[in-house]
């Protein structure tokens, strides 16, 4: 829809301006072929009004042919202007003949031909002028949209960060950890102390990482290690951890707080539900220009088909989206009795990766 039609007021204003242009057109025609004012106005004003609305069609032509395409767009505009002007002139011929025959208004035949030639010559540049105005309008609209998009993605990223932090500081994890500390205080005070330190360290790291845009894989893995240390106390021998991390990849940068929620999922929906427990496997490898991170966990043989999916996974997906990591991909699925989440990120080094 053309923006002009958004409000009735605008249409009326535009029609008024077209009518004024029609008076000017009448004056021009009077100069070419003298005739009474009434005859000139009766012909020129309706024709000007009609053309005023015809040239609005260039809005769609402009949208279909963005200026950045260069010559093809300009050629398209020229062709459209000739077409529009020809159409207008054709219509004007009909109106001129009717006016002459029905009302005896207007010049004779050679006069009409001169009028039509004048209309065609005026029509082309007027159409092109309207294209220029439309291109300017479109550019304005684009910049507004870009501004809005930027704002939206900023808000989205902030929201994702908050959500990640909230998920990270999962209250159940804290409650269970506090319960473990409570238990250790009696039997193993030294252990209780260690657990307090680990928990404090984990929380501090989480807050620090969450505030950054990208962190070295090394730090993200260190956070995961703290988390696993704490869970180890709860699950004891039932939780084992296997790591297959290529040391050369430790300085790659990744969006923060991606791995830990996946590991938390692996425990909550995996290891915890398997009678004899099992291993959470962490992997980091390189496939061409892609950094591949994997988290794997065992799942109970009789677990329902959906087992393994959790809010954690959804959060990580949203976070990837918010980080605008277009090339990033998260796939997850069950392979026999293991559940595997694979995170593919474009390889990046260094940016924002100053070691804390």
């Amino acid at each position: 829809m053309h923006p002009l039609f958004a409000r009735g007021q605008r249409i009326a204003l535009y029609a008024g301006a077209s009518a004024v242009a029609g008076v000017l057109l009448a004056a021009a025609l009077l100069v070419i072929t003298p005739r009474p004012w009434v005859a000139a106005l009766a012909f020129a004003v309706p024709m000007s009004l009609a053309y005023g609305f015809m040239i609005l069609s260039s809005w769609w032509v402009c949208r279909a042919n963005p200026l950045r395409r260069g010559w093809p767009s300009i050629t398209a505009q020229l062709a459209a202007s000739l077409q529009a002007s020809a159409l207008w002139t054709g219509g004007a011929a009909l109106v001129a003949v009717i006016l002459l025959r029905a009302a005896h208004l207007g010049p004779d035949r050679p006069g009409i031909l001169k009028d039509l030639a004048a209309l065609f010559v005026i029509g082309v540049p007027v159409y092109l002028l309207s294209s220029v105005v439309h291109y300017m309008l479109l550019a304005l609209e684009d910049s507004h949209a870009a501004e809005r998009r930027a704002l939206e993605s900023q808000v989205g990223a902030r929201e994702a960060e908050l959500r990640a932090l909230r998920a990270q500081l999962n209250p159940h994890f804290l409650f269970n950890s506090l319960n473990s500390i409570n238990a250790l205080v009696g039997a193993d005070p030294e252990g209780a102390r260690r657990m307090c330190e680990r928990l404090g360290d984990f929380l501090r790291r989480t807050l620090a990482l969450g505030a950054r845009e990208a962190v070295p894989l090394r730090e993200e893995l260190a956070l995961v290690d703290r988390y696993l240390d704490i869970e180890q106390v709860r699950f004891g021998e039932r939780l084992r951890v296997e790591r297959a991390v290529d040391p050369a990849l430790l300085d790659c940068t990744v969006p923060p707080l991606l791995l830990q929620p996946l590991v938390e999922n692996a425990i909550k929906h995996g290891v915890q539900n398997v009678l004899e427990g099992g291993a959470v496997s962490l992997g980091a490898s390189r496939e061409g220009e892609t950094l591949v991170l994997t988290v794997e966990n065992p799942i109970a043989a009789d677990a329902p088909a959906r087992a393994g999916e959790g809010v954690g996974l959804e959060n990580v997906r949203r976070r990837l989206a918010a980080f605008g990591a277009r090339a990033a991909r998260l796939t997850a699925g069950r392979i026999e009795d293991r559940y595997r989440v694979k995170l593919e990120l474009p390889m990046t080094h260094g940016a924002g990766g100053a070691d804390a």
Binding site: V233, R234, R238, P304
Partner: protein, 260 residues
Amino acid sequence: MVPGAPMPEALRVMIVDDEVPARALLREYLGAEAGITVIGECANGFEAVKAISEQRPDLVFLDIQMPRLDGFEVLELLDPVPGVIFCTAYDEHALRAFEVHAVDYLLKPFSRERLAEGLARARERLGAAGGSAAPAALAPMALAASARPAGQPLERIAVRDGAQVHVIPVERVDLLEAQDDYVAIHEGGRTHLKHQTLAELAESLDPARFVRVHRSFVVNVERIARIELLAKDSRVAVLSDGRQVPVSRSGHDRLKSVLG
């Protein structure tokens, strides 16, 4: 304890939690309480069902999130049901806990005082009911039906066969058949009996997948190979394994509305 009241018989208590520290804490707290004997500990739901039905404790401290069988599923499989105090880090199960008549609901981490309160409540409840194992007056089927969170279909069915416990994911179930007070669960050539009515079990299943085709049969629609018309208003559903199930007129209407 009420001063001057005669010392009650020691409460026989069992601890069920999959986390070592959580069990250690309960053991420590309970050890300091008078009139409590901890008769056993279990690290998962399977062990719990076996140990509780064999040793008949008066009171069970029961975690909810555990491997294979969660706390509610453990209760479902017990008959008689002992007194239960849930211990969990999750507060969202409290309503369900009340529905299954739990004595108390302790949120981790809890204090000694809070635990003592729960014990006092348990003594009161068990005493009022006249001795140990009294809450067994509750039928386990009633528990099972009410133990589902509202609006969330069952994902697996726990059944007990003597000391053996089976957990059947619902997608593996072919057919449910009413047999007096029991439901026969047919699953890939095996049949399990569950002490529950067909109506109750059917109600907790996903209605888009399980349709009551007959007063005595609920069928997994994914297993239906075809419907055969035997006579006017008399149909049978032929399942993919060849089994034939009678379909009543209203059952056929229900099937049509699900299959579209």
